[in-house]
């Protein structure tokens, strides 16, 4: 990722002094794992089936799509932006992917799906940077428009008749590992490396911490912001393809409110909603907490109504705790 032309090579600007690292301290290292451990123990105690291998595979399948869009959301939020469009993009990607796949085969479908996500992300990024419309508004517009486009393309009906071979993506497994989990896990790894080891990653933190400072230190903010939304779109593209395989059809109603859950995963992980603080590892924890809560509460037969209350409380609680700790320091 060779971005800088106005700057001499070597130390990337900004990265060294702008808050590029998550807060340190005991809590930030063991806090989320501890919460997860408590959840795992509690659910396992309440229903022994929770611990079964089937259920582990279950959870990983269920959270893979959320994991993928949360990766993109992490980039967006770290750069002090937000991507509200990802939920609807799942539906648009699903419809495009299924229609192309039905007509031109598995590879064409997957490619078309991922490309659709990337293209939508590009539109988001260009509008945010070039037209100077706030990310919240641009992606909100995309949220509504992509849903409409998905419904229009499909006539509101599911696109059925996908080739049998495609089901592997959502339902297959390699050894004990479900394919969607491998895809999401791999994506997390790549995203983690991109964020922590590349110039692009450092620029994302820099833009999120202080955009003015980032501009002054010569970072090409326009280019990297566009890239952030393209990445988020591509993540939604992959997630949409995985979900399409899971539901064995192109579904224009897929992914409703998923954008909010992806934001929740990022902030539960401890990222700052105003940007600059957070990491892939923490988002991964946030996704796990949400996924395990949903699954565990189902297994111990808690009403789906009450589940929403619990998850809502946890979202606010997590941010509250972070803010309280921040004030103490």
């Amino acid at each position: 990722m060779n971005a800088m032309s106005s700057k001499p090579n070597g130390a990337p600007p900004g990265a060294a002094f702008i808050g590029s690292h998550p807060p340190n301290g005991l809590w930030s290292r063991i806090g989320m794992p501890a919460v997860l451990a408590v959840l795992l123990l509690a659910f396992g105690w309440a229903n022994p089936n929770f611990w079964s291998a089937t259920n582990a595979a279950n959870v990983s399948r269920q959270i893979s799509a959320l994991a993928l869009i949360s990766i993109g959301q992490t980039f967006a939020i770290l750069s002090a932006g937000i991507d509200l469009s990802v939920g609807s993009l799942l539906a648009l990607v699903s419809v495009v992917c299924a229609q192309q796949m039905r007509d031109y085969g598995v590879a064409a479908g997957i490619l078309a799906g991922v490309a659709t996500g990337g293209a939508a992300g590009l539109v988001n990024g260009v509008l945010i940077t070039r037209a100077n419309v706030p990310a919240f508004i641009v992606t909100l517009g995309m949220l509504v428009a992509a849903r409409g486009l998905a419904l229009t393309l499909s006539g509101g009906l599911p696109v059925a008749g996908l080739p049998r071979a495609f089901l592997v993506v959502g339902a297959g497994s390699v050894g004990p590992l479900p394919v969607p989990a491998i895809i999401a896990g791999g994506a997390f790894l790549v995203a983690h490396l991109a964020l922590s080891r590349t110039q692009f990653g450092r620029y994302v933190y820099a833009m999120g911490s202080n955009e003015e400072a980032a501009i002054l230190s010569g970072i090409n903010v326009v280019k990297h912001k566009i890239l952030v939304y393209v990445v988020s779109g591509l993540c939604a593209g992959v997630a949409g393809v995985v979900l399409t395989s899971r539901v064995v059809s192109g579904q224009p109603t897929l992914g409703e409110t998923q954008e909010l859950y992806s934001i929740a995963a990022v902030v539960i992980g401890g990222a700052k909603i105003s940007g600059g603080v957070g990491s892939m590892g923490r988002t991964f924890m946030g996704v796990l907490v949400l996924g395990i809560l949903g699954n565990g509460l189902n297994l111990i037969r808690v009403s789906s109504y009450v589940q929403n209350i619990v998850i809502g409380a946890i979202i606010v609680g997590a941010v509250f705790v972070d803010m309280a700790r921040e004030r103490r320091r």
Binding site: W27, G31, A34, V35, V38, L39, A42, A46, N47, N49, F50, S52, T54, N55, N58, R61, Q62, A65, G156, L157, P158, A160, L167, G170, A171, L243, R246, V247, V248, S249, Q251, P252, T253, L254, G255, E256, G294, N295, L297, N298, L299, I300, R301, V302, S303, S304, Y305, V306, Q307, V310, A313, I314, G317, A318, F320, V321, A324, R325
Partner: protein, 370 residues
């Protein structure tokens, strides 16, 4: 401190689980129908004024099997519970489960748009090793994969009311949606003397009921009443708000609409409000399916003209009966049709509601052991 937050939640949950486990006895006392001593004919509240419970109840065409020796766990997965149609069904599942000593867990997806959630719920039921799953599918094609996986895991799936495209289900229990569409078409054709204009509120896209009912309505009109013209048709989620919005727009678009077809009565309630607001009541007739309390009110007021009654409680009861029969290795019919009946303001008061609605005040225990 965050631990404190989560721990509090978990303690809350613990308490919840505790009460959930304790709450395995019958739901609300008002409904304390059959005691575990099963055959004992305790009077049901809905029928308190008339006969004992086991005397000819709606749905006895497919009779209740003997109570099995062991307690089966049955997971019931519903699209949502914000429509009395599904509350009636939920009552059927829970009440029949009690009569047959089964532990019934209800899960609802939150709406037809939450296919991924329904799939997760079925997966969770597979993981918790229920004995059988009763599925009301939010999508025909979308549920194929997960149903096949349940069956592969040795868990039989009974498909009720809204169909999955999977071929592996043990039994399908439903109203005949073809007939529901035809009954509405015939009613409209006769009342309008085979002449006029019609709009259609079809219901949730991609569901078997919206598709089959709407298509058979149109087919029947074309065959038998060629001068009844369909001006427009729209899909929407099954909510009164969607019905209201679509009908208002139809009324803006077309100056004269003689008939309104509804795939479900949730949209019909919205359509009725739109027709009332436009002052066209009596001149625009509305036909629909099901009989929630607002539908009843609008029928008494003469705004909704006719409705095809589905035996929602019976669908629920038969779902559990079929599951138990299958688990007890008794033959189970592949398809069971629950009876249908079209009613108008004049005939509505003579209907036995025990097969159609849950008792007044009953609320479904979502997510609990029944």
């Amino acid at each position: 401190m965050r631990e404190a937050v989560v721990l509090t939640c978990l303690i809350g949950l613990g308490a919840f689980v505790g009460t959930g486990c304790g709450g395995r006895e019958p739901p609300p006392p008002s409904d304390a129908g059959p005691k575990p001593s099963q055959e004992a004919p305790a009077p049901s509240p809905a029928a308190a004024d008339t006969a004992p419970r086991r005397a000819a109840e709606p749905g006895d065409e497919y009779p209740r099997p003997p109570r099995p020796a062991r307690q089966y766990t049955i997971g019931v997965v519903l699209p949502h519970l914000s429509n009395p149609h599904f509350v009636g069904q939920a009552y059927g599942y829970i009440d029949e489960g009690q009569a047959l000593g089964a532990r019934v867990t209800l899960l609802e997806a939150g709406g037809y748009q939450y296919l991924d959630r329904q799939i997760s719920q079925v997966e969770d039921l597979i993981a918790s090793r229920v004995d059988a799953i009763v599925l009301v599918a939010v999508s025909g094609p979308g549920t194929v994969g997960v149903v096949d996986r349940a069956v592969a895991a040795g868990i039989p799936v009974i498909n009720c009311n809204v169909m999955t495209d999977s071929e592996t289900v043990v039994a399908r229990i439903r109203s005949d949606d073809e007939v529901i569409g035809e009954m509405q078409a015939d009613f409209m054709g006769q009342v309008l003397d085979g002449e006029g204009t019609v709009v259609m509120l079809r219901g949730a896209p991609g569901t078997s009921w919206a598709e089959i009912r709407g298509n058979s309505f149109k087919r029947r009109l074309a065959e038998a009443y060629p001068n009844l013209k369909v001006l427009g048709e729209q899909y929407s989620q099954s909510t009164p708000a969607d019905g209201l919005r679509l009908m208002e727009d139809f009324l803006q678009t077309y100056p004269r609409i003689d008939g309104v077809y509804n795939g479900s009565d949730t949209t019909a309630i919205g359509a009725a409000q739109a027709v009332l607001a436009s002052g066209r009541q009596g001149r625009t007739i509305i036909t629909t399916t099901d009989f929630q309390s607002d539908t009843e009110r609008f029928m008494r007021e003469g705004v909704i003209t006719a409705t095809v009654l589905q035996q929602t409680v019976v669908i629920g009861r038969w779902g559990i009966r079929a599951a138990i029969n299958h688990l007890e290795r008794r033959p189970t019919p592949e398809t069971l049709w629950t009876p249908l009946l079209i009613v108008t303001r004049d005939t509505m008061d003579s209907i036995d509601m025990r097969g159609v609605r849950s008792p007044t005040g009953w609320t479904p225990p979502v997510g609990h052991g029944g």
